[in-house]
């Protein structure tokens, strides 16, 4: 008898039991594995879907925003400009969508079995990282095609930017996911909200179209800092906007804290209110 579990009415919100999450570590793998398997079993082209989707979006954006609307792109060819933004944006937006719905989608499991609930949103984000990595292959292809050589700085920053995206997604996803369990109308608002979010994120336009004085405000959206920096370090054009990146990092931390705090507050009651 080496372990003792104490069940009490209230848990402290700051008690993130890493030990316990470690005990259940196989679940990360199995939830991710299940989601990937089911997703690719249901589409005819399987895993190619992960490449197909951002590629087609890139083509459409290039035609409409790049060619027809003549959107500026800081001198970078528009296809690679928009694609760099898109893969990070897709990682964020579909991760957020899945993380926000994961408790509802796994309602049957949540009401019948115990495991640290935070495993669910994290697994759904991991699923999207797999898609992201597959989609990155195209980026590499485009870099070769347009003769862009990543800088050393880029190789260092790339994983950091992925981590930043993951934490932004997790923070906001935890908040929305918990609200979604408690309030039944959240799920109708979410897709609409995420759709709108792309327009306040510099995916189809460069940060430079906003006047320098107000550029940092974009940083309240953590993805603004991520995408702007990604373009600089991967394509080696321009300078990192440090102020924007700092504001984005701080807002990412704030969202993480808020999301985690609210999640911890309602987590144990999921089975009662779901």
């Amino acid at each position: 008898m080496s372990m003792e579990i104490i069940i009490k009415p209230k848990n402290k919100w700051w008690q993130l039991d890493l030990n316990e999450i470690w005990q259940f570590r196989d679940l990360f793998y199995f939830f991710t594995w299940r989601d990937l398997k089911v997703k690719y079993k249901q589409t005819a082209i399987g895993a190619l879907w992960a490449i197909f989707q951002p590629f087609v979006t890139m083509v459409v954006f290039t035609i409409f925003f790049g060619r027809l609307a003549q959107m500026p792109s800081d001198g970078i060819p528009y296809p690679i400009f928009v694609y760099t933004g898109l893969i990070f944006w897709t990682l964020f937006s579909s991760g957020l969508t899945h993380a926000s719905n994961t408790f509802m989608e796994n309602e049957k499991i949540v009401t019948k079995v115990y495991f640290p609930r935070i495993i669910l949103p994290i697994s759904s984000i991991i699923t999207n990282i797999v898609d992201f990595l597959i989609a990155s292959i195209i980026l590499v292809g485009m870099m070769i095609f347009y003769h862009y050589i990543p800088s050393l700085l880029g190789l260092v920053f790339f994983p950091l930017l992925i981590i930043m995206t993951i934490f932004s997604t997790l923070g906001i996803g935890l908040l929305f996911g918990s609200l979604n369990v408690k309030y039944r109308d959240v799920r109708f608002v979410l897709p609409f909200f995420i759709q709108l979010l792309i327009f306040i994120t510099p995916v189809i336009y460069p940060v430079s179209i906003v006047s320098e004085k107000f550029r940092w405000i974009l940083g309240l959206n953590p993805m603004a800092g991520v995408i702007d920096t990604a373009r600089v370090v991967i394509l080696g054009v321009g300078q990192i906007n440090w102020l924007l990146l700092e504001v984005s990092t701080i807002s990412m931390l704030v969202y993480c804290f808020l999301g985690y705090f609210y999640f911890k507050k309602v987590e144990r009651y999921f089975a009662d209110i779901i």
Partner: protein, 447 residues
């Protein structure tokens, strides 16, 4: 949830017995209570409405928050569990029985950490595996093989553990042929077999099982029961077992808890608790007398009220068990305070399947329709003839009303009684009909 290594100081224990108790209690439940706010579960709470309320009247919203924090809203509370205390020793198999809504499932949900308690504390000394449903997390698109892994992991097994037991699980389930078929193509029987096979190979220190044997065919149920018997007897696992199957409870559990209304009302050797439970159920059924309670003040001011009702046998004694050939007398006391037009008293008799066998009123001969009924206290007695009701249990609902004008009182299932065969048609052979009248037959020999 906190995992920690139990460190203890031997000086904490007064004597060896104290120490032994400490070591052997694997589950300790103290003052456990769980409160639900009625309507919370089904409630459709929209964020839109909540936000609108906050903006419309921020002060009353704040006030209600303060009240909740001080624990002052008691209007729609419901305690699903209250003051529950028990300990389970290592290797013990504890049964939990009780009617629907007695709190069994809530208790198991708290023990398996799916929902938190409102009061009290539980100590669990060991790894907990709970089985509140078979096939939790099965995904219809995945194959049997894939679902074994997924389901096993959700129930708390490590990947290596599942790999090690994979063949055993497949053999137990008996679905080798369909291992690579998506489970959406399985029959419900195959589905349950596979699900239970995974669950049966869980190896936690404490296993919590809720009514999972209710599914599946009888042969497979037997297989599961014997597997569970093995698990508990040979491997010395601690098990909490909820079942409506009293025979299964009897054969598996030495001790049993009887829950009713969220409280433990009996705790002891299984045989004693089960016979107490069955007795109590019978008592509840035989309710030969009823005294009406007025619900609120304004109800007292009405023109008529029900006082009491009882069931009598032909000797005039209060009784709840009647022979099938005997008459049953339903006696209803009521008071008319003011003159009322066209008032009548009636009752419905329902059988165990909730079928209305018949209804009858004191105006069935039409003597009161459109007439005034004078104030005073009344006793109405209705005779139900013998050889009419079939053998079984019956419930009576009493009402008082002026048809199409007003219902003055209703007492739902206020009286209950039982008919046992003591002659007549039912003594020849049991009948499946709703009623069982003794009818005249004229029998002629023609040739």
């Amino acid at each position: 949830m906190v995992y920690k290594v139990v460190t203890f100081d031997f000086t904490d224990f007064k004597d060896f017995k104290d120490f032994k108790n400490f070591m052997s209690a694997i589950i300790e439940v103290k003052n456990l209570g769980k409160k639900y706010n009625i309507g919370e579960r089904q409630g459709y709470i929209a964020l839109r409405d909540v936000l609108a309320n906050i903006f419309k009247s921020p002060f009353s919203w704040f006030g209600s928050k303060v009240k909740t924090a001080l624990g002052k809203t008691e209007d729609n509370e419901f305690w699903a569990l209250k003051d529950v205390n028990f300990t389970v020793e290592k290797g013990e198999v504890l049964g939990i029985i009780g009617r629907n809504g007695a709190g069994k499932s809530t208790l198991l949900k708290i023990l398996s950490q799916i929902t938190p308690p409102t009061t009290g504390e539980i100590k669990l000394r060991g790894r907990v595996g709970s089985l509140l449903e078979v096939g939790t997390g099965f995904h219809p698109e995945l194959t049997g093989r894939e679902n074994i892994f997924l389901n096993g992991a959700i129930l708390g097994m490590r990947k290596k553990e599942i790999e090690k037991k994979f063949d055993e699980i497949v053999e137990f389930s008996g679905i080798e042929k369909f291992l690579d078929t998506p489970v959406k193509r399985y029959s419900s029987g195959m589905y349950v077999r596979l699900a239970f096979a995974v669950a049966a190979h869980l190896e936690p220190d404490i296993l919590i099982i809720d009514e999972v044997l209710a599914v599946g065919d009888i042969e497979f149920q037997k297989k599961c029961l014997s597997k569970m018997g093995d698990v508990t007897k040979k491997e010395g696992r601690t098990v909490l077992f909820v079942s409506h199957n009293l025979a299964a409870t009897k054969s598996l559990c030495k001790k049993t808890i009887l829950l009713d209304g969220g409280r433990i009302i009996k705790y002891g050797p299984t045989d004693e608790v089960i016979s107490y439970y069955l007795n109590q159920q019978d008592k509840k059924l035989n309710n030969a007398e009823y005294h009406h309670k007025e619900l609120s003040n304004d109800a007292k001011n009405i023109e008529v009220c029900l006082l009491s009702a009882r069931l009598l046998n032909k000797e005039g004694l209060v009784c709840s068990e009647f022979g099938s050939v005997d008459e049953v007398f339903v006696s209803i006391d009521f008071e008319i305070k003011k003159e009322v037009d066209g008032f009548l008293v009636d009752f419905y008799i329902l059988n165990e399947e909730n079928v209305v066998v018949f209804s009858s009123s004191d105006n069935d001969r039409n003597q009161f329709t459109g007439k005034k009924r004078m104030p005073g206290k009344y006793i109405d007695v209705c005779k139900i003839p013998g050889n009419l009701l079939n053998v079984g249990k019956y419930f009576i609902t009493i009402g008082g009303r002026t048809p199409n004008v007003k219902q003055y009182f209703v007492a739902t299932d206020s009286l209950m009684f039982q008919i046992k065969s003591n002659g007549g048609p039912t003594s020849v052979e049991a009948r499946t009909s709703v009623i069982c009248p003794d009818l005249d037959w004229e029998i002629k020999l023609i040739k």
